[in-house]
Amino acid sequence: MRYLWRLMIFEPRGRESELEKWYDRLTPKQRLKVRANRLEYLVKLPRAEWRPPYFEYMTSGPCKGLSEIKIKVERNHFRLLGFFGPDSGEFTIVSFLEKKSRTLSKQDCETVKSRVKHVTQTTGSTHEWDF
């Protein structure tokens, strides 16, 4: 049986994203912790249960309207910025950042928003994350 969600990544198939490069560089222990603590549950949860503290909608600031999956590895926090779609059953991650502060820069938000626009207007601009 399929999971409720597929995690998609902003990069055409065959091109590795920053997120995938980072994930590949983790140790097996770190990678399995990310899976067991976050990814394997998120893909099974109804959308209504994607909620803080592991998921958040940005309701104010320059990134208003976007959402993020929050991941912690050791003492470092990471933000996987994205949106639900473009197809049903998909959450597309368009940007991956190490969390340095609570707020994102305006430039970060502009980059993310332009990628969202690109994904929604261009077919084949994403591929599934084989985490």
């Binding site: 067991a36 394997e40 549950y41 084989d130």
Partner: protein
């Protein structure tokens, strides 16, 4: 889970420290996701669940629903189970059985039915899978000696994960797709 993802998972599990961490993370974060899923399925607020758990404050429930909290006592888990009127299962299992359970994507896997809604004469898909897994475990015990012989002759180094059942049983249709 697609094929590449499972292949990577099995590869990472060959590392002893990593698989210990994997189990630990599931055990620590899984209840949090389940508590929230069960509470939402019943339409309860955190405060309502707290009251059903013996007048616990809402903040306690919020903490229990945080997958990064991960400090559940057995008595707390039993209180949660009682509040939702579901059973709590704590048992040691093989890694193949563990993977089968934690990757279960069937409806109800995270939010099981309460006792009064349970369909004992019509098991859920999750229950069928679990019983089948238990049957495989039982079969493995029955063939313990021959399995020992198999391990002695063919087994990989002790730190390798052996997920494939070397003795297919009538229940082999529930094989999780281990590396052969």
């Amino acid at each position: 889970m697609n094929g590449t993802s499972r292949k990577r998972l099995l590869e990472d599990l060959k590392n002893k420290e990593a698989r210990d961490a994997y189990v630990g993370s599931h055990v620590r974060s899984g209840p949090a996701y389940q508590i929230r899923a069960m509470r939402n399925a019943r339409g309860w607020s955190q405060g309502e669940l707290g009251r059903l758990m013996g007048e616990k404050p809402q903040s306690t429930v919020a903490r229990l629903e945080n997958p990064d909290y991960g400090q559940f006592s057995m008595s707390t888990l039993l209180e949660v189970a009682s509040a939702f009127d579901v059973a709590l299962l704590v048992r040691f299992v093989s890694y193949s059985d563990f993977l089968r359970l934690v990757t279960d994507a069937t409806p109800g896997a995270l939010a099981p039915l309460q006792f009064s809604d349970d369909t004992f004469d019509q098991p859920t898909e999750a229950a069928i899978q679990f019983v089948a897994a238990a049957q495989v475990s039982s079969d493995r015990q029955l063939i313990g000696q021959s399995r020992y012989d198999w391990r002695r002759n063919f087994a990989a180094p002790h730190n390798d994960v052996i997920l494939a059942n070397p003795y297919p049983t009538p229940h082999s249709h529930i094989d999780i797709g281990g590396v052969r």
